[in-house]
């Protein structure tokens, strides 16, 4: 069996980290959670994830700003960055466009979360 795809989830809310992890992880996906903007860059470099899910509303450094910081690393590894937030879909779409990240997923839409993650990881749904 091929090795699992790695998804790094960054969120300040433990409940969201828990649900996202439990909802996504399966035989093909390994979910690594990170509850702070601190150390995300190192985490991305060490882990070499196949996908990064970023929350927007986080203390001190919001996800969109964090995206700008980790983008150069992710681009070299061809790792998509996707916003995952409870914000308005419109504002998420705008943010994703402005920051040149690969996409966005609205929290609370479980089906969308699974299908989009599978698509970014190039896995069969």
């Amino acid at each position: 069996m091929q090795s699992k795809k790695k998804v790094l989830v960054v969120d300040d809310d433990e409940m969201h980290l828990y649900t996202t992890k439990e909802l996504l992880q399966n035989d093909f996906i390994e979910v690594i959670t990170h509850k702070n903007w601190l150390g995300v860059t190192n985490r991305v470099r060490d882990l070499q994830p196949d996908l990064v899910l970023l929350d927007i509303n986080m203390p001190a450094l919001s996800g969109d700003k964090l995206a700008a910081i980790i983008k150069p690393y992710c681009e070299t590894m061809k790792t998509p960055i996707v916003f995952h937030s409870s914000n308005d879909e419109d504002s998420l779409r705008d943010l994703a466009k402005t920051h040149g990240v690969q996409g966005y997923i609205c929290k609370g839409n479980v089906g969308d979360l699974r299908s989009k993650v599978n698509r970014y990881l190039k896995l069969q749904a």
Binding site: D13, H16, N57, A60, G108, V110
Partner: protein, 398 residues
């Protein structure tokens, strides 16, 4: 035709008439001269026949004519119409100020400052206008127009700002409500998965997460409703005589539970005798509980101290912690709804950032105030100051 000019100035000149001096065309020049000599107030006299203006004589021109060689002898006994300007500028009373000024200034240089005759729309003599007065009036109204414009644009900017704050507030409310709802949806899906697997342990764990998310959601909704009630002035107050020392001790108990396993000591410092105060106990509890739970939340180790002291006719309740403290530049933002941190999109810790706004409003509602002392990295002290006595206090016990 009345159109608004660039300055928006539509003042009719009829309102600016300075005098209605007049003489018949047959009045002799000497008589008119006497009127000019007897007062300095009259600068011009209209020549009026059958109620209609037929000429104008100004002080300057009359004197110029009379004091030239043999002027008095030559003209003194002439009727005034002989030396009066017989084609003076005549405007109807409803003419606009700026148009009249334009007409006045289009005259020959020596006539520019001649008074202007105003008539009714029917042509009857009404009075005289002074060009100098018109120009002063025009520049005053220009200045006030500029001022009005500035005030209007300041108001517009203010409204724009209020709008931005409102939509930011709405965006924050939406996010705060959606976040726990989304957690609940995720947990429901996870529960379904656990049920399919038949894992009772997992179901139990996820149910307790779900309850905590739902409780969090309820707290947020309560806060938002409280805030809107406060802002609409619909929060009711009822004053009772209560034992403040007992209330604070009780809040300290709850704060100990909130601090949990963290190495944080919760202390109460109060005078030996119980302090009685007439206040709204529900509101006071909400204010102090909010401050104390914030203190417990933001203190990783050290102390949270609740203290009571009487200062004159007021009771001061201080909630001091040895937590992270607040940067000076952030203190002003504390009492703003959702103003937890610099960026509205970011949250410092759990919570909506509504608690302090609500506490401040509640304190004002019960005739009190909240002040803050903080040193970043060293801790924060909130002081709630309340009058010991309030009118209409009922009797009650805590």
């Amino acid at each position: 035709m009345q159109t608004v000019n660039a300055q928006g100035n539509v003042l009719p000149v009829g309102e600016l008439i300075i005098s209605n001096e007049q003489a018949t065309p047959q009045t002799v020049v000497n008589k008119v001269a006497e009127r000019f000599f007897s007062t300095t107030d009259v600068d011009a006299i209209a020549v009026v026949e059958d109620n209609e203006p037929v000429g104008l004589i100004t002080r300057t021109k009359l004197l110029f004519t009379l004091f030239r060689r043999f002027g008095f002898e030559l003209y003194g006994k002439y009727p005034i119409i002989a030396i009066a300007e017989t084609t003076p500028l005549i405007v109807p009373e409803n003419e606009r100020l700026d148009i009249v000024i334009d007409k006045a200034l289009e005259r020959q240089p020596q006539d520019i400052y001649d008074e202007i005759i105003v008539t009714t729309p029917g042509g009857a003599y009404k009075g005289l206008l002074s060009v100098k007065q018109l120009v002063i009036q025009q520049s005053n109204s220009l200045a006030s127009n500029i001022l009005q414009k500035e005030m209007a644009s300041a108001r517009a900017r203010e409204l724009e700002k209020i709008n931005q704050v409102k939509s930011q507030f709405l965006a924050n409310v939406t996010h705060e409500l959606r976040s726990p709802v989304n957690a609940i949806i995720g947990l429901a899906e996870l529960l379904r998965m656990s049920a399919e697997k038949g894992s009772i342990e997992q179901i139990k764990e996820r149910l307790s997460f779900m309850i905590s998310s739902a409780t969090n959601l309820r707290a947020i909704i309560t806060n938002i409703l409280d805030l809107s009630k406060l802002e609409a002035g619909k929060m009711e107050v009822s004053f009772l005589e209560i034992n403040a020392t007992a209330l604070i001790s009780e809040i300290a108990e709850t704060t100990r539970i909130l601090a949990g396993k963290k190495p944080v000591t919760v202390k109460v410092e109060a005078p030996p005798l119980p302090i009685m105060i007439s206040t709204d106990p529900v509101k006071l509890r909400q204010i102090i509980m909010n401050l104390a739970s914030n203190a417990a939340k933001f203190t990783e180790q050290g102390e949270v101290t609740l203290s009571l002291s009487i200062i004159g006719s007021r009771l001061e309740i201080a909630v001091a912690d040895t937590g992270i403290g607040i940067k000076e530049q952030d203190i002003d933002k504390l009492f703003i709804a959702f103003g937890q941190v610099e960026d509205a999109k970011t949250k410092q810790h759990e919570g909506t950032g509504l608690g302090l706004t609500i506490s401040k409003n509640l304190a004002e509602l019960i005739n009190g105030s909240i002040t803050i002392r903080s040193a970043y990295g060293k801790g924060t002290t909130f002081v709630v100051s309340l009058p010991l006595q309030n009118n209409n206090a009922g009797q009650g016990e805590l």
